[in-house]
Amino acid sequence: MTTLTADHSTDRYHRQMLLPFVGEAGQAKLLKSTALVVGCGALGTVIVNMLARAGVGRLVVVDRDFVELSNLQRQVLFDEDDVNGLVPKAEAARAKIARINSQVQVIPLIQDLNHTNIEQVALEGDYGPVDIIIDGVDNFETRFIVNDTAVKHGIPYIYGGAVGTVGMCYAVLPHTPAGDKPWEIAGRATPCLRCIFEQAPPPGMNPTCDTAGVLGPVVSIVSNYESIEAMKVLLGRYESVNPNLVSVDCWENQLRQLKVGRAYDVGECTCCKKRNFEWLDGVYSSSTTTLCGRDAVQLTLAPGESKLNLVQIADRLKAHGQVKLNPFMLQATVSDNAEAFELTLFKDGRAIVKGTKQPTRARAVYAKFIGS
């Protein structure tokens, strides 16, 4: 990383350093911070963009997907070159931020974040334990796994979600058994997601970007709200963090704030009060996920399975149709029973099967062309 001189710092961050709660000391805090951004799609690109420009020193960006044309309507860090090059989103974000602010570091992790690896990513990376986790996720399962991790290890978590014209944002400043985290000392701890919502909705109950679509500005509003809450936390300004759940419908012109503090005070939360981390323990885990906004299913192989040899597989698949290969992944068009599928394989063994929303069909296509 480039060493930051005082002059550089003053120039680049001058406008935000003018604010009394930032100043030189606040800017130094941001530059020393490490934030984990989970998901680098519509929400994540805005968050990474804003926080990198603001000088958050290290951004660990986890995303399992690659850039597609339908992303460009709202995913602000990507362009047509990324689509043509099949660039993984986390890597595309790293490359773009390197041109925007070379003084901060983006650490791209091209992988699925799940209950088996999230604690390693949040606590044991070379970059050290992260100071905050920020939500750029497109599904409920990952959010509840993040919520468990945040509460278990006392890490602030900024939740955000957007679909259609509605969005929601909320800062979890977790209660811990010792009660010694700075936000607890400041009397600003908040209920966790499970205190308020108890459980993720059953699959298929809620609209997704796939079924309902999403407007770019809605995502932008939510993710910028997340970004400012994250900045307050990283600056240690817990008294300014919004303790309410913010809900917005940009088409109905409604903006609501729900007072949720009582949910912890009188509730019997499985996660915060009983410290039973069911999502992190894998009680609800799935090995397949239908991807938001796409006619596609992600398959995750059992842990311990060896990494894929993409070059070898590419050679084999050439007989079945067009194959594209880059250092991160392979993409092939295959047909099975007269149906066309796009098969994308990552080095870590994950696969995305496009052309179906049914996990069983996706597994069958994978088994046929890659092996089970």
Binding site: A42, A162, E198, M205, Q254, A263
Partner: protein, 64 residues
């Protein structure tokens, strides 16, 4: 009752749990605020509603 800023009337809705059922949200991840205070899930069955109550009902948003 005022629900999400709109005057609404339901037959046979006595509690918060009844209301969520009437809205077909009983299985959802929903937060309910009654007169500016959140009603924890465990209290939905025993929290009764009265004329003039103001409610906010929001569903956890999943996309992103």
């Amino acid at each position: 009752m005022l629900i999400n800023g709109k005057e609404s009337e339901f037959a046979d809705v006595r509690t918060v749990a009844d209301l969520l059922k009437a809205l077909e949200l009983e299985k959802g991840a929903v937060a309910v605020e009654l007169n500016r205070e959140v009603v924890p899930r465990a209290d939905h069955l025993r929290t009764t509603l009265h004329e003039g109550d103001q409610l906010e009902v929001v569903t956890l948003v999943g996309g992103g």
